[in-house]
Structure formats: structure tokens, C-alpha cells
Symmetry: C2
Subunit: 392 residues, 2 copies
Amino acid sequence: MKINHHFDEMVPNYLFADVARKTNEFAAAHPDMTIIRLGIGDVTLPLAPVVVDALKQGSEDLRHQNTFRGYPDYEGYEFLRNAIAQYYQGFGVTVHPDEVFVSDGAKSDCGNVGDIFSQDNTVLIPDPVYPVYVDANIMAGRKILYAAAGRDNHFLAMPDPDVRADIIYLCSPNNPTGAAYSAEQLQEWVNYALENDAIILYDAAYEAFIRDDLPRSIYSIDGARRCAIELCSLSKTAGFTGTRCGYTVIPRELKREGQSLHALWYRRQATKFNGVSWPVQCAAAAVFTPEGQRQCRENLDYYHRNAEMIASALDELGIYYTGGKNSPYIWMECPDHMGSWEFFDYLLHNAAVVGTPGEGFGEQGKGYFRLTSFNSHEKTAEAVDRMKRLLS
Amino acid sequence: MKINHHFDEMVPNYLFADVARKTNEFAAAHPDMTIIRLGIGDVTLPLAPVVVDALKQGSEDLRHQNTFRGYPDYEGYEFLRNAIAQYYQGFGVTVHPDEVFVSDGAKSDCGNVGDIFSQDNTVLIPDPVYPVYVDANIMAGRKILYAAAGRDNHFLAMPDPDVRADIIYLCSPNNPTGAAYSAEQLQEWVNYALENDAIILYDAAYEAFIRDDLPRSIYSIDGARRCAIELCSLSKTAGFTGTRCGYTVIPRELKREGQSLHALWYRRQATKFNGVSWPVQCAAAAVFTPEGQRQCRENLDYYHRNAEMIASALDELGIYYTGGKNSPYIWMECPDHMGSWEFFDYLLHNAAVVGTPGEGFGEQGKGYFRLTSFNSHEKTAEAVDRMKRLLS
């Protein structure tokens, strides 16, 4: 029996473990200090009340013979796919309910979608980025190229006509940089994909944070339906990190080598997935009701005010950053040319504030640092004060 | 961009679609007849009350700041892994909580576990069997061999020392045949795996139906911890087909080529999975409480009485069958040397009873037919009467 030796090529990721260890060591040595965590990558506000009501009603349904539900459809219940299609319509994008696949989260889909592609494809991944894209493709034995993002392109990597890629991961608004593509920039990527017969895997997990006039879906771009799969999630939109529901859109006309990618993904899911639970699909549908949208928006606004606090402090300090407006993430340049980990230690030891060293997200993250808006207003305000005192 | 052309090798599976079409056609032509479905592969009784209570309490937890839960552990919460380990202890098998991985179902795991193995392995799959093993491995491009089951081995395929396999799928009690291995038979498979450096993927999804003194886990067999991964599910045990929770056990000492399969699977899940929702894990833990076990057992007993009705009718009719005692499935030889589909039509047209043609589960299923115990007592009794009248 031979194991999959591509696992040998995966670099162990100790980023969050190292952050936790250093934080714990500091806490033990300074029991009097109140540490504030601006490195949180998970939501902290509870679920919207209408969502909990739907989750409980869906649970209650399973108690009674006449409302009990067994195996769900592989692609999700129609009522939820309809609700998602209507949600897209709300920002002017037409997606047919039959093109939506409900899943247990965008992370599962953005790894598993590789099953429908040959191993023999070249994958292009922006740097810095969510580490899952890289690891899932190393595991599958694919060749990976990186599209460097940096201060010159405001951390929005753009296509290089000299690079030939088959599969392109884009994440906008980006994790970790918070930078979001404009329609013109996405059009360049779509044009590149169409010219190169490539597929864009568009991770829209943070689309609900967009406030500026920027695309919330790749399908608002001409030609995208012929070259893009969109992955989205309720994790950040509606606080579903512990509830688990996401969705993937594959347009019916999206084909390669004469085959429908929609049909391939359906076959993949029918073979290796058994759908999302009834109560969770009920809860997800509640997110897309007018009251669900209003309640979820309150939570997004809460995080957004935190992001604004951090961003305006960095503006005052004259520190370069991306994100903070259309994203829960703020990606700042470390002051005085400090390295990521050097600044991590400096901020922890001098302000008792914890963030995430940028180099954990890729080579281009060196010298950068990620702050997040998922703490409370009070803690965020206090952290911002401490940072201003330390860095001004 | 190249698609995964192994999908071209997958045979479209129209089994249940064809059954539904023929049944609907018959119903339309005979609106006066009451059709009874003994082909149901899904549970029909609602969830146990304590399980619903836990599901609702877990949902309510997500409404409040102080009990809210975000991202779960990739491997499942410790309280649930402890409960599963104790459940194993209840039938005399020692599994450490750290060896348990909670998932959204055994189907996901039995497909996804392939990620940790090289494509360059030969897979041995009993025939007839649950079609997912075959399809997941065709998709991955692995060479597949079949271990024929039939009347000569009572539909329990045994190892052939002349066949060299690297990965072996076993399902006991089997879907679709209901046949369950004895300890001696499983010992032969474990010995074969150890001698051949192979891995057994042991699907124990129906273990809770076992009544005879037969192994409920591969780990009750000497040496299994050095060659077997066990996959299990709450779908049939506790009616979780629409709730979605399963678990996979990988012993710490299970290594190949010097690497821990537990570590590889953890890395796979950390990369391509984000855990099971808090309410569902709360519900799953309730299954393993004494009251949960009692309530789930009532449902299993209900299905079991149906299986007994079917089995005793076949005994009376002198028809050869497997299953029905340690399984919700009864696998019968079609009378008068009829083919699977021929008998399907005969039973539908002459008794208005629907079952599943055995050839849908593999070449060796030709001439056999699957009946299930998931209908009501009343309907099952009526179907049995009709079959007795028709076939005696």
C-alpha cells in the first residue's frame, strides 16, 4: 500500500499554533496585562434570532413522522437554492437555482472541486492568500504558480500574459489582505481565463462585507459564466462558522473539453457527499429572508465599525494598509521595516495586542500583518488606543 | 484546462431512477392498486426525542453570546469523541477518543479517505456492494478488482491468496446483501491484509443491526489496528440520514511507509473540511446516552420486526436469501431463475410490491433482489401477504 506522497510536499502550517504559544507565554509572564486579540479569524457574534428559530423548527420537524426528513438532495433543497438565486438577483446577478449546489462550507468545496479536474493542470494562486488553496492542490499533485501581490498592485494580483495557467483561484474581498477587485480588474482576469481556456475558482466568502461599488459576484462580469465557478459561504455573512453551510455556483454553459462542469460536480457530490442537514438548510434559508438579511446586516455593521476604527487609526499613523472597508480584515505594513514576526512580538510585548504575522499567508506577506474586526467594540477601541500610543 | 477523464469511465447509475420510472408508470396505469415500497433505502421513523431535544438545545446555544460556537474542531468535539469511544467499549472494543474523527457522514469519508492513498494502488471491492466504493475509486483513477460474492460463500466474499490488493473495502453487515462476517472470517481478511501490507476500509454503517454473536467492529479482530480504518455512521443507527453525522476511526499505530495514516487524514480534513455543526454534534452525543440508546433501539427493533416478517415469509416459500437478521436488508434469489429486472416487473405487476433489482449493485447481483425493512409494520405485513400469495 502506497500513501499519497504529495503530502510530503506540504509545509506544516504552525502559524496559529505559534501565535497561540507566544501569546500564552506572554500571558503567563504578565498576569496583570489584559491581552486583546485582533487575530481572531472566526466570527464572535451569535446567530441572528430568525436563523436560530428556523434551525429549531427544522430540528423539531425531525421529531414527527409527518415532517421527518431523510437523505437530502445532493445539491440542496430547492427552496434554499431558490433563496440563493434571489439573493444574487438582489445585487443584479442572474444565477439559476439549478446552478447552485449547497454544501457544508466553502472550504470543503474549494478543496473537493479539484476532483473534477485533471491532476495535469497548472494552478495559479495569488500570494498572499488563504492557505487552503495551496495545500489542497499540493495534495492533488498539481503544479502551482503564484501571482505576487504587493504594495505596487495594492495587494490585488493581476494576470500576467506570459504566464500560462489552467486553474486560477481568486478571493475577493481577499483573505488575508481585505483588498477587493474592481469590475475592470475582474474583467481582465475573465479575459485572461477565456483566452487561456482556464477556469477561475472565485471565492466570494466575504462578498457581504462589500460597501463600495465593487462586484459581489464574478458573474457580474461579461464572459464569467463561460470560465468561472463561484464559491460562497454563510460563515462570515451570517455567522455560520459553527453551523456549516456554503454554496457553489456552476453555470450550465460552463464546459471544458465538451463536458459540462456542472454535470461533473453533480456526479462528484453524488458519489462523495450526502447533502446538508434539514435543520441547517432551514436556517440557511432564513438568512435570505428580509428579516434574516436585516439581522445579519446588523452583525456585519458591528464588525464593520471595528474595521473602521482600526483603519482610521492607521490613517492617522500614516501606515499603509489594504482592506478594512469592504472586508473584516486589515492588512498593514509593519512599521520601521520590521518583519512580520518581529512586529508580532513588538506589538504583543509593548501593547499586549495580538495579530497575525503576514508571512503565514505566503512569501509576499513578509513585512505585513493582519488585524481582524471580530473582537468587541470595547476591546477593539482599547487595542486601537494602545497601538496609537505605541506607534505614533 | 483538462477535466478529470476518469469520470468518463464511470458508468451512469440509473438504478433508482429506473425503479422510480417503472413504478410511476405502473401507478398511472393502475390507479386503483396500492403500491407498497420495499425498496426504501432511507430510514422512515423520526429522530429519538432526546436527540431532537439536544439538537434544539445546541441550536439555542447559537443564539446567545456566552454559548455561541464558531468553527468546530476538524476532528469533532472531545465530548462526542469520548461518547463514541465509550460506545465501542460497550461491545468490548477499545478505541481511544483521539483516534475518532467526526464527520458529516460515512459516505463522505469512504470517498474522501482516498486522498491519503496513492493513485497507484489496487483496490479490492466485494461484488455486490454499495456503488460508492467503486465510483470513488474510478474517479481517482485506481485499478479495481472485484471479490465475487454469491450463494457458494453466502454472499460473504473471502480473500483469495492469489490476488494482490492494496486497499480492501469490506461492508459488514453488507449493503445490499445483509450478510455479516463472523470473527473467523474477518480474521482471515485481517491476516490477508497484514500479509499483503494492505489497508482494510471497514464500513460498519449497519453494525447496530447485529443481533447474533458477530463482530460489531473490525477492531475486535487481532491485528486489525495495524491494517484497518473503520467508517461508521449514525444514519441508520439513529436515523441521521437527514441530520448528517458519521465517524471514522484510525488507530494511532496504523502506519504505512513509515507514516501515520491518522496524521495524514488529520491533515486532509484540516485542509478540505471544516468540521460538523455544533447542534448536530450535540444531537450525536445524545444518541450515545443511555436514554438515547434506549430510544434508538426502539426504532431498530421496529425495522427488525419488519425484516423478520419478510425473512420468515421467504423461509416458508423456500426461497434462498441472506440478511434480515443482522441487517435491515433482505437479499433474495429471484424465483424460477428470473433475472433481477424480470422479477422486479413480475412483483410490481402481480403484487404491486416494489423492491430493488440486485444487478444494480454489481455483476454478481444478477438474479437477486433487495428488500428493505424501512416501511411500516402494516405495509410490510401486507406486502409479505401479497408475495406469499404470488410465489407459493
